[in-house]
């Protein structure tokens, strides 16, 4: 669907804060499925935790938020990166299992309620067919 080059054109986030590698499915404004591959070379593993690599939950949330940005990005519209700022409003996520090196994180996001300038989405992350985190995020969008 979208490879990493296209993801980089859409997302305002850049290295080292790109939390998605590929978009598998996208229905603009309705649903997105995206992937992040977790490698032992991830810089956060150096400190989180030495000898026991666990992906920080906040970065799973960030991956969900970035997937939401792409979901609301309509192909053909002005690139989201240049025109809009996204602010997380609230986060209600439950973490079920730790994510570690070698995992492939599958992020699924669907809208619950979207109005102009703000949205509430349902997000789920899974690895190896097992749900690792799920919940809701709200965010506001400011243009210009």
């Amino acid at each position: 669907m979208f490879n990493i080059e296209e993801i980089q054109k859409i997302l305002p986030q850049k290295f080292p804060f790109l939390m998605l590698d590929r978009v598998l499915e996208l229905e603009a404004g309705k649903k997105i499925v995206a992937l992040k591959n977790i490698s032992i070379n991830e810089s956060f593993f150096a400190g989180h935790f030495p000898g026991q690599p666990v992906m920080p939950g906040v970065l799973i949330i960030e991956a969900m938020a970035q997937a939401a940005i792409i979901m609301f990005y309509a192909p053909g519209s002005i690139p989201a990166a240049k025109q809009a700022s996204y602010y997380l409003g609230s986060v209600k996520i439950r973490f079920q299992h730790p994510v570690t090196a070698g995992d492939q994180l599958r992020i699924e996001v669907e809208p619950i309620k979207v109005i102009s300038g703000a949205g509430l989405v349902k997000a789920k992350a899974s690895a190896g067919g097992r749900e690792v985190a799920s919940g809701e995020l709200s965010f506001s969008v400011q243009y210009g």
């Binding site: 409003g89 609230s90 619950i112 309620k113 109005i115 102009s116 703000a118 509430l120 709200s138 506001s140």
Partner: protein, 82 residues
């Protein structure tokens, strides 16, 4: 519909993180309960899910007190039952 009022009161109390007793019928969401626009959106979405209704975006500005919010929920519940 006292049940509807209480259900919505509890939902609002959870979102604004206050005791349900503080969410009186006329307590002002923004000034007195510390609500922001994102919380208002959560309330709107919460009512839509719970009551299987769709509330249009322009009603968001009506959600200023519990009394007003219950009135909006009732309006759309009635529309759905027609």
């Amino acid at each position: 519909m006292p049940d509807l009022e209480n259900e919505i009161r509890n939902m609002i109390a959870e979102i604004v993180e206050k005791d349900p007793a503080q969410v009186t019928l006329d307590a002002k969401f923004f000034e007195e309960l510390g609500m922001d626009s994102m919380m208002a959106l959560e309330i709107m979405a919460g009512m839509e899910k719970k009551y299987k209704i769709t509330i249009p975006e322009e009603k968001l500005t009506k959600l200023t007190t519990l009394r007003e919010t219950v009135a909006v929920a009732k309006e759309y519940l009635e529309k759905n039952n027609v």
